[in-house]
Symmetry: C2
Subunit: 247 residues, 2 copies
Amino acid sequence: MSPKRAPGSDGAASAMPGGVWLRAPRPPSAGGGAAQPALDRERIVAASVALLDERGTAGLTMRKLAEALGVHATSLYWHVAHRDDLLDLALDAVFGEVTLPARAAGDWRADVTAFMDGLRTALLRHPWSGALAGSRPLLGPNALARSEFVYAALVGAGFRGDDLSAAAGAIANYVIGTVSAEAAWRHGDARDETAGRRALLARLNGSAEAHPTLAAHPPSLRTDWEGHYVRGRDFLLAGLAGSRAGD
Amino acid sequence: MSPKRAPGSDGAASAMPGGVWLRAPRPPSAGGGAAQPALDRERIVAASVALLDERGTAGLTMRKLAEALGVHATSLYWHVAHRDDLLDLALDAVFGEVTLPARAAGDWRADVTAFMDGLRTALLRHPWSGALAGSRPLLGPNALARSEFVYAALVGAGFRGDDLSAAAGAIANYVIGTVSAEAAWRHGDARDETAGRRALLARLNGSAEAHPTLAAHPPSLRTDWEGHYVRGRDFLLAGLAGSRAGD
DNA sequence: ACCTGAACACCGTTCAAGT
DNA sequence: ACCTGAACACCGTTCAAGT
C-alpha cells in the first residue's frame, strides 16, 4: 500500500482525460490546530484558470503555475496527479460559471436555450475552454449539475433512453463545437481572424473553378458568430421538437 | 529580405492554428538533374499521420518524426515552419480520406448524410483527429473540397447567406463534436471506457439526491456511439429540413 | 537547395530529503 | 502532512556550418 501520492492511484484511469473525477478524492486534512497549508486545490485551480486565460493551454506549465503560487513546481504534485488534472479542474470551474434559472421554466425549449446560451457565454469568456470541453469527458461536479438540468428539461419533454442521451449529447456538442470553432478562428485576436478570412477569400478566388459554390457564397470578412450560433441552435431545437411532435 | 525559411513568413498568420494554409506555398524545387531530396512534404505528412495514429497528438514530436524519417530533427524545419504545421497537414490528409459520391444525388439530405457519415468514419479511423478538427480552422485543400460538396447540397436545398453558413457549420460541428466526445471517452482503449462509465455510475448513485434525473436515467455501461450519432444527425437534419419547408 | 550539429531555453515527473 | 531540491529524460526552435 503506502500511497506515494494522496489523490490515490487507480492505475487504469490515472492518465485518462477526465481522470481526476474517477479517482477517489483525497480525505480532508486532519485540521485541528495544524498550520494552514500553503496550497490547496481551490487556490491551484483559481491560479490555473488565470494562467490559462492569460497564456492559453500551452502556457499552463507546472513551473509557471508554481511561480504564480509562490511554491516549487514539484509541490503541486502533492495536490494533483498530473498536469492533465489541472485542465480537468479548470474546465469544471468554467462550467461553474454557467448560470441557470433557479427553477426550470417548465418550457423545455426555454430551459435548453438558457443552458446553451449560458454555456456558450462561459466558454467564450475562457477561450481555451471550448477545445478542452470537446476533447475530454465532462464529469466534474459543476458539469454534472448542468447535465442534470438539461436532462430534467428533456425528460419533461418526453425524451427517454437513447433519444434522451442523443439529444443531450447533440445539445452539448453543438455549443462546444461552435465555441471551439469561433475560438480557433479568433485565436485570441480579431486582427488574426480578419487576416485569415482575407487569405481564405484570396485562395477561393484563385481556384474558383475548383470551388464554384464556395466562391459564389464566400464567407464574410467579419463573421457574425453569434448570429450563426443562434440559427444553428434553433435548427437543432426545431429538429428535437419535431421528434416529440407525435407524443 | 533573404528568407531564412523557404515556406515564407507572413508574420501575422505564422503561429495561428491553420496557418499553413494562409502562407504562400513554397515554389516547386528547380528539379532538372539535381539529386532527389531526402524529404518532402508528402513523406513528412505520411509519417506524421502514422506517428499520430500510434502515439496520439502528444506523441508527435519533431525528434521522433525525424527518427522515423531517418533525418535530423532540425531538417524538418526546412519543409515546415513549426510543429503546428504538421498537425494542420496531417488533419487535412484525414479529410482526404473522406469519400464522397462522385456526383451529388440531387437529394440534399442524402448528400449531407453521406458527407457526415464519411467524415465520421475518417475521423474515427484516426482518433487524434476529432479534437484537432474542433480546435483549428479547416482550410486545407481536402477540407475545402468537402466543404464545396456540402455547400453545393445546401444551396440546392435553398439555403443562402447566413442560413447557409450556419447550416454548414452546424453540420460539421455536430460530426466533429460527437467524434471528439467518443474519442475522449475511448481514449484508445475500450476497457478505459467501461471503467470510466462504472466510476461515473458509482458517483451518480452516491449522490442521487443531487442528480435525481441523471440517477434515474443513467448512461449505459456500453455506449452505443453510432446509434446516438445517427439519432442526433437526424434531429439536426429534420430541423434543417423544417426551416426550408416554407419555400 | 537541403541537411547537419551544437546549442538554448524550456518541459513533466520522480524521489529522497527536510520540517 | 506538506513542501523542497536535485535530477532525469525529454521538448521546440535557432543558427551557423557544411555539401
